[in-house]
């Protein structure tokens, strides 16, 4: 197996996890930056929306590095999807396949299920709940919690901050509740 083929196949957790962990010292060393992504949403608000709300009145240009960082993530997603595309379909747990089949989801290619997340579905109740409602919860919740998986679960835990552990436990609890108890009803719509 040559290198390119190796790169194209899905990377195992023990490769990806340490690489993500190394982002913490990398950002610290190249410019004293604390790893975190959800703050970028706040910087976008501060930069794009004319507002006198104190929460968004700060010198966002000082935090421009964070916007470059997320722009890079988007570009990275593009590169990986188009140049390093996995030739095989995503290997999904058979139990999940059976369950999702009940809701008419049969396409397991790509990063998001194309049958759920597309422009036509967007204008239905299900689509609004999934894309608009889900997005809102992500933006509102991360800011309320003061960080997301990167800021709390990776950076905060790396720095042994117990509030970050509390936040991480709550992220997981919310996820378990949604995936097991609420999402089935949304998918049935």
């Amino acid at each position: 197996m040559n290198l390119l083929e190796l790169l194209k196949n899905p990377w195992p957790w023990y490769v990806a996890g340490p690489l993500i962990g190394l982002t913490v010292p990398t950002l610290l060393l190249i410019g004293n930056k604390t790893f975190g992504i959800s703050s970028s949403l706040r910087h976008i608000c501060a930069a794009c929306l004319p507002t006198k709300i104190p929460y968004f009145s700060y010198d966002w240009k000082k935090e421009a590095w964070n916007l470059f960082f997320v722009a890079g993530i988007m570009l990275g997603g593009f590169i990986a999807a188009w140049l390093l595309q996995n030739p095989n379909p995503v290997a999904v747990n058979p139990g999940l396949v059976t369950e999702l089949n009940q809701y008419g989801i049969t396409d397991f290619n790509g990063m998001v299920p194309a049958q759920l997340f597309n422009w036509e579905v967007l204008f239905s109740v299900k689509g609004l709940l999934l894309m608009v409602g889900g997005g809102f919860l992500v933006g509102f919740g991360t800011r309320y919690a003061g960080g997301c998986t990167s800021g709390h679960s990776i950076m905060g835990l790396s720095n042994l901050q117990w509030p970050s552990l509390v936040a991480t436990i709550c992220f997981m609890a919310g996820g378990f509740i949604m995936a097991n108890l609420i999402l089935p009803f949304i998918l049935k719509l």
Binding site: L49, N93, A167
Partner: protein, 181 residues
Amino acid sequence: METKTGKSEKTIEKKHQDFLAADTDFEMRSLDAVCFNESELKHPWWYNFKYAFVGVLFGIVFVKAEIISWFRIQEMFKLQSFHMYGVIGSAVVVGVISVFIIRKFKIKTIYGEPIVFVTKNFNKGQVYGGLLFGLGWAITGACPGPLFAQIGTGATVIFITLLSAIAGTFVYGKFREKLPH
């Protein structure tokens, strides 16, 4: 000579602490102390491209390890796969070791600035906000970082999810004083 160096280092550290304390916006920002700029150095804007470069590598890992996969997130929350636990767990272990080494050897940035870590204060927002974010995470299959990467992979409709997340952030900012913290 040695004591002199030690002293001057202390002075630099003190100066930096003063800088952080003097930043009037700092207290406000430290309330949700995630990812703000702690460097007092002024660089031309294009220096920021190094962060874009790190972002590109990060985005590639996101896609190739399927961390931004909606299916992997469902598997995680249904305990059907170890993958995500392995990713987050090993990332934290590497992060903890890195921070420990930086602290122990007082490693400085490439510009010679002391690295400062921010202490996070607990507030109830971490519970309420955390639960709300968790709900959103399981719906969209993405935290904020993966949203950007998902759009990059060609799922253009996720741009709407991103806009909605920005709106959520805005609404939080608007009603922040009224929310329990």
